[in-house]
């Protein structure tokens, strides 16, 4: 897996830089807000209990949920005020992580202040210090070791939790972890985890050095720690690669292999057209569309039926061309979003079963399933059961399963393969349908809409002729068979490819534009697309 390792390592510097910047900013805000709060609360016993309860309460919210919560909150603020707040990416991550880091800082701050010898404080007053002098000359220096212990805890938490910022579109080391988990590319997961752990260990060690310097009143240790910390921060933020001033294009991707592959393919096209590209991956369905409408991302691939039911809240089910035309008209009018065109394949939700099981139960369509369902277990991806499509299918066929569970897509396929689920909500473009010998069930009542993959562009890019021209070759260029194979390349266990490799196989990039400075590429020419046998 040297290819995967090399690819993960190549992505590492940018992700580390973004990760450190986010963690540091969050920690700085938490310190700036937490220390005054703590010292104020130490002097106001009545405020202390509610304050500690409040920061403790934040801590009980799972960090992933806290991050996700700020997306709609910022959108609301954005709508209610005229502030143009970015609801995705850095800002929500920053707020959530800062809040998360408050608890150890405030708690240790209060403890530091309360642990001070009352005689020393009386002496400080008696000698004629003002409150400010007492704070700076006595309380902070004496409380520093305990304060710093809190900051250390906060730093380690923040660096760990910052990996979750990926889910709200902020690049971090979580990019490697989440995409690696999704595609079972364990090298990526390991590289991401190891890098995050290493960052946390280094930060903790440097802060420990400062802490011991303060505790032992050793200026050498204190300043050595501070100096090393500052040097590490500055070094991490230097762009070692020459700064590129090409325009930036941000590509969105939801959280499954096909999306990663298509995002990589789009990035290849845009890079060839002279753009600097950035992929924001692992976005939830609703977040991805809103981010596009808000201009936080420039382009991504979504599916006709998803937009129809979730974004436009429609429950009827017109044929594909009408649905597409209607979508293009309504999304443009409502949000200014442009529908550039269909990629050429459909990724519909489809109920699927193992072939042997389906044959034994004589199930060919969802119609047949309704009688057998009460004895069967259903496994779905994480969103399906809360989507309108499920309500529509369940109502149309009166489906009542014996039980149902949600999995991430990878594990959902595992569940049906090993028999712990009988029916799953499969994706019709998924290579694993053929690989695992699943059958998709017919939908005679047309309860599930068409899920043509569509290229969507943000309102600003919808007016950008050069941008649209760079992407237009993708329209109609991806037949379903090729998409399934590309998906399988990423999802299978043996001879696994990375999404970027699969993207290059699926849509070999056009030769890059002649560069302004003549410079021969040092790297070997790209390998020819491997000849993949059709999944069977």
């Amino acid at each position: 897996m040297t290819g995967a390792a090399a690819e993960a390592l190549a992505a590492l510097p940018d992700l580390v830089r973004a990760h450190i910047l986010l963690s540091c900013a969050a920690l700085a805000i938490a310190i700036a807000a937490g220390l005054p709060l703590a010292f104020w609360a130490a002097g106001h016993p009545r405020a202390r209990v509610p304050l500690l309860a409040a920061v403790g309460l934040v801590q009980t919210i799972p960090s992933l949920a806290l991050l996700a919560l700020f997306y709609p909150l910022l959108l609301m603020v954005d709508r209610a005020t005229s502030l143009a707040l970015p609801a995705l990416g850095f800002l929500p991550s920053l707020i959530a992580l800062s809040l998360y880091a408050l608890l150890p800082i405030v708690r240790n701050g209060v403890a530091a202040r309360e642990g001070l010898d009352p005689a020393v404080l009386e002496a400080a007053d008696g000698v004629g210090m003002t409150r400010r002098q007492r704070l700076l000359l006595v309380e902070l220096p004496l409380g520093a070791p305990v304060l710093l212990a809190g900051i250390r805890t906060a730093a380690v938490w923040t660096i760990g939790a910052a990996t979750l910022a990926t889910t709200v579109g902020q690049p971090s080391l979580g990019n490697l972890i989440f995409s690696g988990l999704q595609t079972e590319n364990w090298v990526r997961v390991l590289v991401g985890c190891a890098a995050a752990a290493l960052l946390a260990i280094v930060a903790d060690a440097l802060l420990a050095l400062i802490e011991s310097g303060l505790a032992r009143l050793s200026a050498v240790r204190t300043f050595a720690g501070l100096g090393l910390l500052a040097a590490a921060l500055i070094a991490s933020q230097i762009h070692w690669a020459p700064r590129q001033d090409r325009p930036l294009a941000v590509i969105g991707a939801k959280n499954f292999s096909e999306q990663y592959i298509l995002a990589a393919a789009i990035a290849d096209r845009l890079a060839a057209a002279g753009y600097r590209t950035e992929i924001r991956e692992d976005l939830g369905s609703a977040i991805a569309y809103r981010a596009l409408a808000a201009g936080d991302i420039d382009v991504y691939v979504d599916y006709g039926g998803t937009l129809w039911t979730n974004v436009l809240a429609r429950s009827d089910n017109p044929p594909a061309p009408i649905l597409r035309a209607e979508l293009a008209r309504r999304l443009a009018r409502r949000d200014g979003v442009g529908v550039l065109g269909p990629l050429g394949f459909e990724n519909a939700y489809a109920l699927a079963m193992r072939r042997d099981r389906a044959e034994r139960l004589h199930v060919r369509s969802i119609e047949d399933l309704s009688a057998a369902a009460p004895q069967l277990h259903f496994a779905s991806d994480i969103e399906f059961l809360s989507r309108p499509e499920w309500r529509s299918v369940a109502a149309a066929y009166r489906l009542q399963f014996a039980g149902s569970r949600s999995y991430s897509p990878t594990f959902m396929y595992r569940a049906v393969a090993d028999g712990s689920a009988d029916v799953i909500s499969a994706f019709s473009s998924d290579g694993r349908i053929a690989a695992l010998d699943l059958v998709t069930l017919a939908d005679p009542r047309r309860a599930l809409p068409s899920y043509e993959a569509l290229l969507l562009v943000s309102p600003r890019r919808a007016q950008d002729a050069a941008f649209l021209a760079a992407l237009r070759p993708l329209v109609g260029a991806v037949p379903i068979g090729r998409m399934r194979q590309a998906n399988l390349m990423v999802d299978r266990d043996r001879d696994k490819k990375s999404p970027a490799e699969a993207a290059r196989w699926l849509l070999p990039p056009s030769p890059p534009r002649p560069a302004p400075a003549p410079r021969t590429p040092v790297s070997a020419p790209r390998p020819a697309p491997p000849d993949i046998p059709a999944a069977s």
Binding site: A123, A124, G126, G128, L217
Partner: protein, 257 residues
């Protein structure tokens, strides 16, 4: 009594709930005098002392220092003109002895050479070797620490010294030595000293004037000699009788030896 009073307390009252810790205490202290405030635990003597440097604000009454009401001066500025020594000592543990002693000067904006010179002078005054300036407080014995506390209080040449059980936590030998050193400094520097103690012997031996507080009221205000002659009411005589009987028993022991 010579000269105008340096310190005047007028009708000081302080209540803790229904109980009055101080009940209309009035007192004038002449410049240069050494006054001991004596009384049993809970008699209000520490509270009275702390109203003078505004560590405690009284409910009623006023305090005048050098003729002006102390409420006209912000507490930090007031406290820089009053030396304060207390049983807890409260040396700043993250600073060395020299930095501790020089704190009042640093707050007043004195430059480093002036501070260093004054630190050496003060170490001489309180009878500590000069090389103690570089030591940490945790390397000092209790008596040495309180000598540093005394030096810190004297650093800015305050006209008034407030001492709250300054030797309360020391062993008897150190206590005696430090008490005498304190009195000698008082005389040499011409300051005015107000010292809280519950030890009548100490008060009788060090002070010019003894004010006895019981239940928040002044029950006696006299010179040590007057008290030894039996001044004051029964409770006051009870306080003075303790050291007197101890002295008699010690003398008897000596006569027998």
């Amino acid at each position: 009594m010579t000269g105008a009073p340096l310190l005047e307390l007028d009708g000081i009252t302080k209540r803790h709930g229904a109980r009055a810790a101080l009940d209309g205490v009035s007192l004038a202290v002449a410049a240069g005098s050494f006054v001991a405030l004596v009384g049993p635990s809970g008699s209000g003597k520490t509270t009275l002392l702390k109203t003078i440097n505004r560590l405690i604000e009284p409910d009623q009454g006023s305090v005048r220092l050098l003729g002006s009401d102390i409420r006209d001066t912000p507490p930090p500025a007031l406290r820089r003109r009053i030396g304060y020594v207390f049983q807890g000592i409260g040396l700043f543990p993250h600073m060395n002895v020299g930095e501790n002693i020089a704190m009042a000067l640093r707050l007043a904006g004195a430059d480093r050479p002036a501070r260093q010179a004054r630190v050496l002078e003060l170490l001489d005054l309180v009878g500590l070797p000069r090389d103690f300036a570089g030591r940490r407080p945790n390397a000092l014995s209790g008596g040495q620490a309180q000598r540093v506390g005394l030096a810190r209080a004297l650093a800015a040449r305050p006209p008034l010294m407030l001492m709250d059980e300054p030797f309360g936590a020391l062993d008897p030998v150190t206590r005696d030595a430090l008490g005498r050193a304190c009195r000698a400094l008082h005389d040499a520097l011409g300051v005015t000293t107000l010292m809280v103690t519950h030890d009548m012997t100490e008060a009788l031996l060090l002070a010019d004037r003894i004010v006895v507080l019981i239940d928040g009221r002044i029950r006696a205000d006299a010179s040590p000699a007057e008290l030894m002659r039996g001044g004051g009411d029964e409770a006051v005589r009870g306080l003075v009788d303790v050291p007197r009987r101890q002295a008699e028993r010690l003398a008897a022991l000596e006569g027998r030896a």
